[in-house]
C-alpha cells in the first residue's frame, strides 16, 4: 500500500478532542438510576483451606442488599474457560487449572475473591466486608519456582500431584553437535521478574438487566467485548443478541484486560439479573495489584555456542515460567519467550525446553510483550558476553548473524503461539541495525565520547539490541462500512480500543478508499450491538487484522458506489472517479452525485430494483491472516551511571522499527514511545515483591515504582517499511514493540557504562537499589 491522501499521513487523532475535554465515556462514567455497588472480600492469605465463611452479620447491615459466597452461586459456580489450549507440540504436558468466580474450598493466591457484597453504596459495601468472618486454615505457600517443583512442596492444585503446570520441548537441528564444534560456549542464568501492567484505568464493570426488553447490557473495561458477550450469554442462558457488551474508552489495556472471565465479569451481570437493579464495581488500585493478571517471572539457564568469528552455531535454553495460581491463558507467554529468543538471527541449532510452574501468586497472563522480553533478554545478553570474550564489537557480532534480506520467508522450524510454524514473512534487519547505529552515533561514542567522559570521571555507556515481534495473528476480525444519506461514513468493528488511535487509523483506511475527508468517517469499536463478530484487541493485531477488514469493507463499498454511479450517470464503471465526497465521471465533474445522494438512491422507498440488488452503500468484510507476521526493530540508548549512587540517566534513546506499511506515523510513534516508557519501568523500576508466604509487599504506588516523565526520554525514531506479504495493506503490529527489548538494552548500556568494574547484569528489573548492590558486590570481589 503506497502513501495516499490519508494512508501514511500523520492525521491528528480524531478521538483526542473528546478525550481532552472529558467527554469520552469510561466505564466509571456510567451512572444509572437505582444503581447498586459491589465490593469484594479478598483473601489476606496466599494459600489455605477455606473452612467457612459467615456473612450473616454483613447481610444484616443497613444498606446491604446481598452478599454472595461460592456456596450462594449454586450451579453458576464453575471455573473459567481455558482461553488458549496448548499447541500441538509432541510430548507437551499441560495441566489446566482455570480461575474460579469465588474461592470455594481453597484459596490459592493473596487477593483471591471470597465474597461479593452488594450495597446501596460502595462505602457501605466496603464496611460490610468487615462483618464477614472467614475461617481459613493456612497452608505453606509456594513462591519459589525451583522449590515449588521439589518433592514435598505444598501443592497449589492437589489433583495434579505436582506444581508443574506445563512442560514443552521444541528443538531444531543438533545442538549437541553445534556445541562440540563451537569455539566458545557462554552459559549464564538469567532472571526476569514480575511487574504489574499498571494501566491508568483499573478494571470496572457496570451491568444492567432490563426485564421488559429481556436485555442485558454490560459496560466492561475488556479488550474482548465480543467473547465476553458470547460467554455471558452461554453462562446466563440468554441468546447472544440479548446481551450487549460495551467496551467504551478504556484507559490502557496492555494485556490483562484481554483475560476472561474475571470473577467480577461473571458475578456482576448475574447479580444484576437476580436483583433487578443495575450494579457497578470499579477496581481500586490496591485490588488491581492482586485481582488483575500480571507477568513475568522466568528463570533461564541458557547457553550460546559460537564460532571464532562470532557466528551463532546454536542455542540451548531451559527455563522455568511462573504461571501464578491458575493458567487460563495456556502457554502463550512461555511459547512467545521460546520463539522470540531466536530474534532476527540465523540460529541453525536450537534446543529449548520450559517448565511452567503453579505458585501462590496472582495469575499470569500476557502483559505488553507477553514473554517476548525474556527471549530477547537471554539472546541479546548471550551475544554481548560472547562478543566480549571473542573480542568482537557488540554491533558487529549482531551484524554477522542477522537473517539476510533475501532469505524471506524465513522458517525457524518451530511452532509459534498461533499454532502456525514460526516463519518470518519479511524484514530488512541489516538496514535497521545500520540506521540505528548511525542515528545514535555508535562509532563516535565508542571512539571518542565515552573515553573523553571516562577521563573526566564520568561513566557513560551505550547499548544496541535487535528484536523481532511476532504480531498480527488470527483468527480474524471484521468491519462494516456504511455510507449514510448525510454523507457521513460509519465504520463498526469488533475490536475494543484502549488508546491506540483506532478512531483515526481505521477512519484513514476507509477515507482513502471512499474519497471522503477523514473526519467524515465515524468509527465505532467495542460495542457488540454495532458489530458482533471478532475476538479482541491483543497480540499487536488491530492494525493488521481489523485494519485489513476495514480496508476490505471499504473496497466493497467503493465498488457499490462505482456501480451505482455508473448506472445513474450512464457511464462505464471504469470512468467513475470517487473523490471529494462524490462520484463523478472522469473529465466531467458536473456529471456527479454526492455519496449521500447515492446512499439515498441506493435505498429507494418505492419503485422496482434489479433482482439481487442489496440496499444501501454498505458492506461487511472479514480478514483472517494465514499466520502472524514478524515486525522488527533495533533499539539503542546512551546512559550515564553514577557509580556511587547507582542512579541511571538515559541520555538518548533511539528506535528504528519496522512494522511494515505505516498507516499513521504519529500514532505509531506514540505506540513506540509508550512502549518504551513501559519497558523502562520494567527494566529499572517496576517489580512486584512477594515474601515466602506469598504476601505481596509493595501493593501501592508508594512502594511500587513507576517511571515518571522525568525518567522517560523522548524517543528519537525512524520508520523502516518492509511490507508484509500476508495482508493487502502490508501492515504489521506495533503495540508491544517499544516494551520488548528495553530490558536487554538497559542491561547492555548500564553494563557498558560500568565496564571494568566487573558488574555483569543477568537480571531484570534492575532497581536502583539492586544495581547499587551489584556495584558494591563487584567492588568487594575486586578488593
Amino acid at each position: 500500500m503506497k502513501p495516499g491522501r490519508y494512508m501514511g499521513q500523520s492525521v491528528p487523532r480524531l478521538e483526542d478532542a473528546k478525550l481532552l475535554t472529558g467527554r469520552a465515556l469510561f466505564v466509571d462514567d456510567v451512572q444509572l438510576p437505582g444503581m447498586l455497588h459491589a465490593a469484594f472480600l479478598r483473601s489476606d492469605d496466599a494459600h489455605g483451606i477455606l473452612r467457612s465463611i459467615d456473612a450473616s452479620a454483613a447481610r444484616e447491615r443497613a444498606g446491604v442488599v446481598a452478599v454472595y459466597t461460592a456456596q450462594d452461586l449454586g450451579d453458576y459456580w464453575r471455573p473459567g474457560p481455558l482461553l488458549v489450549p496448548p499447541p500441538p507440540i509432541t510430548g507437551l504436558v499441560f495441566n489446566a487449572a482455570t480461575q474460579v468466580p469465588l474461592a470455594r474450598d481453597k484459596v490459592r493466591h493473596g487477593g483471591e475473591a471470597l465474597a461479593m457484597v452488594v450495597a446501596e453504596s460502595r462505602y457501605i459495601a466496603e464496611d460490610a466486608l468487615e462483618d464477614i468472618v472467614v475461617e481459613l486454615e493456612p497452608l505453606a505457600a509456594v513462591t519459589d519456582l525451583e522449590a515449588a517443583l521439589r518433592p514435598g512442596a505444598s501443592l497449589v492444585h492437589e489433583q495434579f500431584g505436582t506444581n508443574l503446570a506445563a512442560h514443552v520441548h521444541q528443538s531444531k537441528g543438533d545442538y549437541a553437535g553445534a556445541r562440540a564444534a563451537a569455539a566458545l560456549v557462554v552459559a549464564r542464568r538469567f532472571r526476569y521478574d514480575r511487574g504489574a501492567s499498571a494501566a491508568i484505568e483499573n478494571r470496572g464493570i457496570v451491568a444492567e438487566w432490563d426485564a421488559r426488553a429481556e436485555q442485558l447490557t454490560v459496560w466492561d473495561t475488556t479488550q474482548a467485548p465480543i467473547p465476553i458477550r458470547n460467554g455471558l450469554a452461554a453462562m446466563l442462558g440468554l441468546g447472544e443478541s440479548q446481551v450487549r457488551v460495551i467496551a467504551p474508552f478504556i484507559g490502557g489495556g496492555f494485556g490483562p484486560k484481554i483475560m476472561m472471565f474475571y470473577p467480577e465479569e461473571v458475578l456482576l451481570p448475574w447479580a444484576a439479573m437476580r436483583l433487578g437493579r443495575p450494579l457497578k464495581w470499579i477496581e481500586d488500585r490496591r485490588e488491581n495489584f492482586y485481582a488483575t493478571t500480571q507477568e513475568r517471572l522466568q528463570i533461564h539457564d541458557a547457553e550460546l555456542a559460537v564460532a571464532q568469528d562470532g557466528r551463532i552455531l546454536g542455542v540451548k535454553d531451559t527455563f522455568l515460567h511462573d504461571t501464578g495460581a491458575y493458567d487460563p491463558y495456556g502457554l502463550t507467554v512461555p511459547i512467545n519467550s521460546q520463539c522470540t529468543l531466536l530474534g532476527p538471527y540465523v540460529v541453525p541449532n536450537y534446543d529449548s525446553e520450559f517448565t511452567a510452574v503453579f505458585t501462590n501468586t496472582p495469575i499470569v497472563t500476557p502483559v505488553r510483550g507477553a514473554g517476548r522480553q525474556h527471549g530477547v533478554f537471554v539472546m541479546e545478553r548471550l551475544l554481548d558476553f560472547a562478543a566480549r570474550e571473542l573480542g568482537i564489537d557488540r554491533v558487529e557480532i549482531r551484524r554477522r548473524n542477522l537473517i539476510p534480506p533475501d532469505a524471506f520467508p524465513y522458517d525457524h522450524e518451530i511452532l509459534f503461539q498461533d499454532f502456525r510454524p514460526l516463519v518470518y514473512d519479511s524484514g530488512n534487519y541489516p538496514a535497521a541495525l545500520h540506521k540505528a547505529v548511525e542515528m545514535i552515533g555508535y562509532e563516535a561514542f565508542i571512539r571518542s565520547e565515552q573515553p573523553r567522559l571516562r577521563r573526566a570521571g564520568r561513566r557513560a555507556g551505550i547499548g544496541v539490541v535487535s528484536y523481532i515481534e511476532g504480531t498480527g495473528i488470527g483468527p480474524y476480525e471484521g468491519a462494516r462500512v456504511t455510507v449514510e444519506p448525510s454523507g457521513l461514513v460509519r465504520v463498526a468493528t469488533g475490536v475494543g480500543t484502549q488508546g491506540q488511535g483506532h478512531f483515526t487509523t481505521f477512519a484513514q483506511l476507509v477515507a482513502e478508499q471512499l474519497g471522503v475527508e477523514v473526519d467524515r468517517v465515524r468509527v465505532v469499536t467495542g460495542d457488540t450491538r454495532e458489530f458482533h463478530w471478532g475476538t479482541g484487541t491483543f497480540a499487536s493485531r488491530g492494525a493488521v487484522v481489523a485494519g485489513n477488514a476495514c480496508h476490505a469493507a471499504a473496497l466493497k463499498v467503493r465498488d457499490k458506489i462505482i456501480a451505482l454511479a455508473a448506472r445513474l450517470l450512464e457511464a462505464e464503471p471504469g470512468q467513475v472517479v470517487v473523490e471529494g465526497g462524490s462520484a463523478c465521471v472522469r473529465g466531467a465533474p458536473d456529471r456527479s452525485f454526492t455519496l449521500g445522494e447515492l446512499a439515498r438512491r441506493a435505498n429507494p422507498l418505492r419503485g422496482a430494483v434489479t433482482p439481487g440488488t442489496e440496499p444501501g452503500l454498505e458492506a461487511t468484510a472479514y480478514f483472517g491472516p494465514d499466520r502472524g507476521n514478524a515486525a522488527s526493530g533495533v533499539h539503542a540508548m546512551i546512559v550515564e551511571v553514577d557509580p556511587d549512587t547507582a542512579a541511571v540517566e538515559i541520555k538518548r534513546y533511539v528506535v528504528v522499527h519496522d512494522c511494515g506499511v505505516v498507516i499513521n506515523p504519529v500514532v505509531v510513534e506514540a505506540q513506540v514511545q509508550g512502549g518504551v516508557a513501559h519497558g523502562i519501568g520494567n527494566a529499572f523500576y517496576e517489580q512486584l515483591i512477594f515474601d515466602d508466604n506469598g504476601q505481596l509487599m509493595n501493593a501501592s504506588f508508594m512502594d511500587y515504582l513507576l517511571p515518571t516523565a522525568l525518567d522517560v526520554p523522548t524517543v528519537e525514531m525512524a520508520h523502516l517499511e518492509t511490507p508484509s506479504p500476508l495482508n493487502p495493506l502490508g501492515t504489521k503490529g506495533v503495540g508491544e514493540a517499544g516494551a520488548i527489548p528495553t530490558g536487554a538494552l538497559f542491561a547492555q548500556a548500564v553494563e557498558d557504562a560500568l565496564s571494568g568494574t566487573g558488574v555483569e547484569i543477568t537480571e531484570i528489573p534492575l532497581s536502583p537499589n539492586r544495581l547499587f548492590e551489584l556495584i558494591t558486590q563487584a567492588k568487594g570481589a575486586a578488593a
Binding site: 489476606d44 493473596g110 490496591r286 504476601q695 509487599m697 509493595n698 501493593a699 508508594m702 512502594d703
Partner: protein
Amino acid sequence: MIVEGTYTFPGPREVVFRLLLDPDVLAKTMPGATSIARVNEDRYEGKMGVGIGPITAAEFDVVITMTEKVVPESYQMQIDGRGRFGFTRGKASVRLTADGESTVMHYEADMMVGGKIAAVGQRLLDSVSRMMLKQGLEAMSAELDRRLGKEPA
C-alpha cells in the same frame, strides 16, 4: 519478620514474670491496646489498634496462647492477630535471667504479616514494630518501678 533482643528490668525475676503475664498491665502498657482479658490461665484475648504508614487505625483482634510456661523463667506465646487490614501470626519466646538486682528478658519472635498491612505498610513494618516494642517495654518498666515502690523487694 523476626524480632529479637534483650531488655533489662530493674527488679527481681519473680516480679517481672508476674508483671509480664498480668492482663491489666498488658492492657496499660502495650501501645494501642484497648482491652486485654485473660480468658483462662493460658489464653488472652484483646483488641489493639495500630497505625502503620497509610493505614492509620488498623484494629486487630488478638489472641495470645501461652505454652511451656516455666515460672519464673520462660514461656512461649502463640500470637494470632486479625483485622480488616490483614493479619499477623507467629510464635514468640521469652526467657528471663537474673542479673543481680535486675532481670534480663530475652525475647525472640517470628511473625508473619499479611494482607493490607504487609502490602502497603511494608517499609514501615520493621520500624513501627520496633518502636511499639520499645514503648511497651519502657511502659512496663515504669509499671515495675511503681509496683516495686509499693512492695519493695
